[in-house]
């Protein structure tokens, strides 16, 4: 599962153009410079593309924090 977190971290780093960014579950948009509604969409798209999943309309804008997003994303992946 740490693999999963690493992959997501890489995508965050790329999207926000911050190579040293570390994720934490309570992280919110306000904690990351440049995380506005536009980059949020870019982030969602990049996650969808990378993991081959689709978020619902409610999910797209509705995550409270990164932890919630990760749980939702992981739930969409096939279980090994």
């Amino acid at each position: 599962m740490s693999d999963f977190r690493e992959r997501v971290t890489d995508i965050f780093r790329e999207v926000f153009d911050k190579p040293a960014l570390e994720l934490f579950d309570e992280m919110q948009a306000k904690d990351v410079e440049g995380w506005d509604s536009l980059t949020h969409i870019t982030l969602i798209m990049a996650l969808e593309e990378s993991f081959g999943v689709k978020f619902t309309t409610r999910e797209v804008m509705g995550f409270q924090n990164v932890g919630e997003m990760l749980v939702c994303l992981r739930g969409k992946l096939p279980t090994v």
Partner: protein
């Protein structure tokens, strides 16, 4: 993907920009400073969909193409107000060009509310025309997005046929926009093509329209913004005026020099059909006024002959403004083509199936656009559409006559330039060669070289499998098989030579090499290996022989080039060289020790 080149990253070329993910595009553009994007473009974007992402993508692409954008982005959905109010921000910005970014989703409520569905398209078209004429009067270039025909089909298969359906109305509206834009000089951005090409199921993203009024999935924004930049930059020096093509496995299947004019694949069947379609696509470009030119490793006479006599060839020699076919460096030949046609590399595209040649050319001539050609020729048409390189208006009669003009001019001014970066390029390739044994693993490839190669073949002795097996056992014979790899991949066994001890000389009975690796130091390496073998067998001299055939003119002067001198008392075409002065070169190919699993 960026064009990663040995030792350095070249900037993305125009053909790649539509495929770069949005966030990478934005990150790359942030690192561009004002100095490297010298030419300023003042643009206004008016949209009835959210346009922030669109503007970001457009801005990034313009910067990556060497332009510095100054974009006025109007508020959401105030297109009419901006255009009709002479004191709006739009006019204050003094934009050179205005982009009308209309989204089909924004039109839908108006259609729903329209009492007269049949009059709807006419009304919308008239509205647009009104906007255009005002903007044109303010001396702005107008760019209008066509509308992506939506996927809903309330009337099933009959939807498109009915103006009463929204999809039917949008399709008609597009036709009206096209008809009316043209006489006014309004430039169109074909959003409908974008959506169709990528697939409307994914191009439209209903979630994002509902959430954020995004007209399309941001995944396809780079491509749309790239297309917009193509239209915006028309006339600013980005137009492709000439397509230079390689021949073997680019314009037809196979190698003309090896397979002969009857053996190459072009025509009505299988791979030949795919290449014929490529030729047809190039022919269309030519008809539009784009010049075609040839840069190929071949004999010019053979090239002209096959172009003009092959029954299934679509492009003939007269379709090319310049034909440069020889065994020299591609870069040198491209410089010659530029010279002859007097067209800058910025206005040229070079198509070549070989990744090696492509990288070499990109590195030596960074201004020249060298798109990656798909390995499968049946994917080339798709790739050409996707690159978006051929923006332009239909040809005039003058354009069509230009090919003839250039061909005459070319004949007068033909001249060549030297390419100097080659040595460094070869050094950076990381080439590794290995002498492999002739055994069950290598037998079939070695036999193929011995029995089928025509061009780089000094004596063209066609040994059978049994004969080769016997030779390999002979203590006075050295059979050398050479395998090559570099950072582009493994070429497999690319050269074979057979040396026989005759008195104090090692006689080079056969020497065969694949033309793919010509001029990369393999010849010199093989010479060094032969000299080494000669010394081990107690020989002082190497004796080589060139036996002329219809197809091996390529190596007529190989021995003199490698420092051999003619043997006065010997047979015709016989050359000799002392071995004590010949070493195995340390550069540019590194000789590695054989590893069994590779052999």
């Amino acid at each position: 993907m960026p064009a990663t080149v040995i030792g350095q990253d070249l900037p993305w070329q125009a053909w790649q920009l539509g495929d770069v993910p949005l966030h990478k595009l934005l990150a790359a553009a942030r690192r561009i400073d004002r100095a490297s994007a010298a030419r300023k473009v003042r643009v206004a974007v008016l949209g009835d969909a959210a346009s922030q992402h669109y503007c970001q993508a457009l801005s990034a692409i313009l910067k990556l193409r060497g332009f510095w954008p100054d974009i006025y982005e109007a508020e959401f959905d105030v297109i009419r107000q901006e255009v009709l109010n002479p004191r709006s921000g739009l006019y204050a910005h003094r934009a050179d060009a205005v982009i009308l970014f209309h989204a089909v989703q924004a039109l839908e409520p108006r259609f729903s509310a329209a009492a007269d569905k049949r009059a709807f398209t006419e009304e919308v078209a008239a509205d647009l025309e009104n906007l255009w004429t005002r903007l044109l009067a303010a001396r702005m270039t107008v760019l209008q997005h066509l509308l992506a025909v939506p996927i809903e089909r309330p009337l099933g298969n009959q939807t498109a046929a009915h103006a009463e359906s929204f999809a039917g109305a949008v399709a008609r509206l597009n036709t009206l926009i096209v008809e009316r834009a043209r006489p006014l000089g309004v430039r169109l951005i074909d959003t409908e093509w974008q959506a169709s090409y990528f697939g409307k199921r994914v191009w439209f993203d209903e979630r994002l329209w509902c959430q954020a009024r995004q007209a399309l999935s941001p995944l396809y924004l780079p491509a749309l913004a790239k297309a917009t930049s193509d239209v915006l930059l028309l006339g600013l020096g980005t137009m492709v005026k000439c397509v230079v093509v390689d021949l073997d496995n680019t314009l037809w299947g196979g190698v003309l020099g090896d397979d002969g004019p009857e053996g190459i694949e072009i025509g009505q069947t299988e791979i030949g059909l795919a290449f014929r379609r490529v030729q047809a696509a190039l022919s269309e470009l030519r008809a539009r006024g784009v010049l075609l030119a040839i840069c190929s490793r071949n004999h010019e006479s053979a090239v002209r002959n096959v172009l003009d006599t092959h029954p299934d060839m679509l492009l003939r020699s007269s379709d090319f403004a310049a034909i440069v076919a020889n065994y020299g460096e591609k870069v040198t030949n491209l410089l010659a083509i530029r010279e002859r046609l007097n067209i800058s590399f910025e206005a040229m595209v070079f198509l070549d199936d070989s990744p090696f040649e492509r990288e070499m050319v990109r590195r030596a001539l960074p201004a020249l656009c060298v798109p990656d050609l798909p390995e499968d020729p049946s994917s080339v048409l798709d790739a050409m559409a996707r690159w978006g390189l051929f923006e332009g208006l239909p040809a005039t009669a003058e354009d069509r006559a230009r090919t003839g003009y250039y061909a005459d001019e070319a004949a007068r001014t033909a001249q060549r330039e030297r390419f100097e970066g080659l040595e460094q390029y070869l050094a950076d390739l990381g080439m590794e060669a290995e002498v492999v044994p002739f055994d069950a693993y290598t037998k079939s490839r070695v036999l193929q070289l011995v029995q089928r190669s025509n061009q780089f073949n000094l004596t063209t002795i066609r040994y059978s499998e049994a004969e080769l097996m016997a030779l390999a056992q002979e203590p006075s014979v050295k059979l050398l098989c050479l395998r090559l790899r570099d950072r582009f991949g493994d070429y497999g066994i690319i050269a074979v030579s057979i040396g026989r001890r005759k008195g104090d000389a090692l006689s080079i009975d056969s020497w065969i090499m694949s033309c793919r690796v010509l001029g990369r130091g393999v010849e010199e390496l093989m010479l060094g290996l032969l000299a080494d073998a000669a010394r081990r067998l107690g020989c002082r001299r190497l004796v080589g022989r060139y036996i002329q055939t219809a197809k091996n003119a390529l190596v007529a002067d190989l021995y003199p080039r490698l420092g051999f001198t003619p043997v006065e008392t010997g047979d015709e075409g016989e050359y000799a060289r002392e071995v004590d002065t010949v070493e195995i070169p340390a550069q540019p190919i590194k000789l590695t020790t054989p590893t069994r699993e590779d052999a």
